[in-house]
Amino acid sequence: MADVPVLRVDDIHKRYGDNEVLKGISLTLERGATKVLIGPSGSGKSTLLRCINHLNKPDRGTIELDGQRITDANIDRMRAQIGFVFQDFNLFSHLTVLDNVRICQLKVKRLSHEEATRRAHEELERVGLGDKAGAYPAELSGGQQQRVSIARALAMDPMLMLFDEPTSALDPELTGEVVKVMQQLADDGMTMLVVSHEMGFARQAADEIIFMEGGYIIEQGPPDVLFSTPAQERTRAFLNVIAEHG
């Protein structure tokens, strides 16, 4: 069983009206691997992430989590095993930080109150917010909210974490604390697929960079190779733009 990838995406197509956003995407993610998706906006990165847990349902193709195909019938069970971190955090505004991290453990995994509380405190410590358990989302900075949302996802013991531009909505001085948490997660062996323009993170944490454009994967490879000697002209052009503006 050792060679079953945590995630296998096979020939995913997604279209909105006349606009085909994903034109046949395939990739795999081995246990413990971190892959970072980069590419110009509109290239389909976020759509791909949302197709993986059927937040947007793919028109064609299959997604397998740990060898099991994701279908309409098992979607809720599968989602519970996939942590998703959103660009704009999406914390539950009426719940304290502690309850944000607890609620899905209680209602979806049906853990006991004690167990859920223990796990919640563990994950809040891990993201450095052990002292914020009683606060409400509106009382936190963007960076803190994003770390809570990471803790919320981790508390479900996911086998895969998806990050959809987790630092894009943050002020530059707040991205560091979130990137640090993600870096730590990658080092701890979490399996992660990350859409991000944080090139520092991509360089250090990623096992592989995937460059997407126009609904296709153009090129993929280890960060040192892809960043220094990209094989494709389009990859080079994109990296140049990033280098100039980032």
Binding site: F86, N90, L91, S93, C104, K107, V108, A135, M156
Partner: protein, 224 residues
Amino acid sequence: MDIYDVLLRDFPFLLKGLGVALVLLAALLALGFVIGLTICLIQLYGPRTRFVQWPLKVYERIFRGVPIIIMLFIFYYGLAGIFDISSFAAAILALGFRSGAYQSQIFRSAFQSIPAGQMTAARASGMTLTQAIRWILFPQAIRHAIGPWTNEFSSEIKETSLAYVIGVVELTRQAHYIITSTQGNVLTVFAVVALLYFIVNKAGNSGLYWLEARLAVPGFEKRQ
């Protein structure tokens, strides 16, 4: 016997009328709550087919578009021909169905004011649609809804007096009995009745404001 003695003597009747009005109010608001919440949830999260959505729209338009006094007559004289219902039951149905149409709008805008991402996040964590509504959206929607719902409460306590026209012996009708039996004193009697309506209205509003403040969490403070 002057009017004050009469008022004193007949005050228990006014209180009894007030009691009827309050039961009518509670019943119509409860019926309206169930109908309103159901309509709102189907409109927002139910099947999008016209077969489901169109009748709800028609219901809402009709009950918001027809004068309540006509509805009371239709429910009492119209339905009484088919079912054996009391004027009190007819009043609950007519007022409750209409309140449902208004409450559906209150709840709809309350649910819509919750950022859509929270539903997405709940579903992404494996919650079913029902769980996400129950645990994530509903507790927030209720907080958003209390303010506008207070208005609905205030209108409906006043509207209960219209049940008078189909013969429900509520506060206004009791007042009318006193006026008829003493021949006159309209101003005094109705002033007392007005005061009673006002007190209930004020008490209800205060209770709802208290509830709103009690449920407020950072990010939900409404009233300064």
